[in-house]
Subunit: 138 residues, 4 copies
Amino acid sequence: MRGLSLSEAQRLLEAGAARATEIGQPMNIAVVDAGAHLLAFVRMDGAILASIDISVGKAVTAVLMNMPTDELYDLAQPGAPLYGIETTNGNLVVFGGGIPLVVDDEVVGAVGVSGGSVEQDVDVASAARDALAGTARP
Amino acid sequence: MRGLSLSEAQRLLEAGAARATEIGQPMNIAVVDAGAHLLAFVRMDGAILASIDISVGKAVTAVLMNMPTDELYDLAQPGAPLYGIETTNGNLVVFGGGIPLVVDDEVVGAVGVSGGSVEQDVDVASAARDALAGTARP
Amino acid sequence: MRGLSLSEAQRLLEAGAARATEIGQPMNIAVVDAGAHLLAFVRMDGAILASIDISVGKAVTAVLMNMPTDELYDLAQPGAPLYGIETTNGNLVVFGGGIPLVVDDEVVGAVGVSGGSVEQDVDVASAARDALAGTARP
Amino acid sequence: MRGLSLSEAQRLLEAGAARATEIGQPMNIAVVDAGAHLLAFVRMDGAILASIDISVGKAVTAVLMNMPTDELYDLAQPGAPLYGIETTNGNLVVFGGGIPLVVDDEVVGAVGVSGGSVEQDVDVASAARDALAGTARP
């Protein structure tokens, strides 16, 4: 398994924060490794406090489920197959903003972003993800 | 109470894993006893990490509720009688893949499977359950 | 990072269980991967229930702390440097029976054993560890 | 209350990481604000996983208790006034490495460091604290 270095994680945080600044929305941004353990985190000035745990939870969820958290959203709705899954693993988040980092078909970690609208969170998480060389863009 | 032995639990894990291999979907498989305590567990190579807790949670739920977790699914929906039950006991799972093991009308434990679609999880859990001699097939 | 396969984990469980049978003490035995996520677990017939969580906790602790849990024992005593550490990470265990699995100077996982005296737990955990080819024996 | 900015928090992380590199010990470093909420975090390459929660816990403890965590150490020992306090607030840590950030007699946040010996943790946390202009050095 390819490890994710701190300098790579920080490059992702910077790219995410740059995009957040561009769209004028302060964000919490978290990067976890392939074991879902926190590698690096920033809360931008003015970002809401709830989004600390939400951003970390999104990154953790993306690794544990091996999918972007926005794909989990539909699956977790009432009447959908995984209804209730947000309570099964402590800190799962079932809306967008968590994206796995995939290099050579292998999940090496994930980025989680929270603080804006879900669309903004996904936008910023994608910008962060794109800063990792070799990352698959499905 | 008739106890479930480790060798019986392991036979269930093997039968479940064999079925999982047959359908090409790596799974997490857990067996708990009549007190809902873990007896044996395997995570097949390539199975997602979230399903560790979910498979154990399904087996625990099947014992605590004395029903297959897919029967709990309808009851837990918005407007249904047990809406919100997924948060009442720590790790209840309200979608399919957890099946009680019933011998001579007595629950002796349960098997929980997670890692594929809910249909695949139920399929593999059923194969595991069927490996226990004398198990009721409702 | 070198991954630990389920068949390797099961070989460790078998070696541990064989040693436990040899000394006449039923045990709970857990194997986790390098991210401290459960890979395989067995509770031998007659092993006490508390040791389910303790065995998993010992394996998790050995990975998170990167040391055998018996080395943590002295450090966690009143007046010792890490007094109070058993409460900092959810399920840390500060007595013997958790041993990291080290291959080529890299932690690839850990085994945790609980059910007997601490000496017996360490004995069985060591037997399990020795079943992994290439494991360092410090 | 004077707020701590992200750029200030990052300056502290850099100063701490520089000191950690100097002494050759990879560390987890966390900065929280005056409300004990995480502002920024880094896990240096090679730092142990247990220290993620411990570093955050030390920073949280330093704010909640308004004292360096090494001062809490003596108070938390058996027979001392605050015996048992490590379990009262979820994630309190009662050994050194958490230091409040005090500007003009006001706590504006705290830094928490974990990954080395307690002495090394305190050393690195002090280096981080000193990077904040106007910080009191008691």
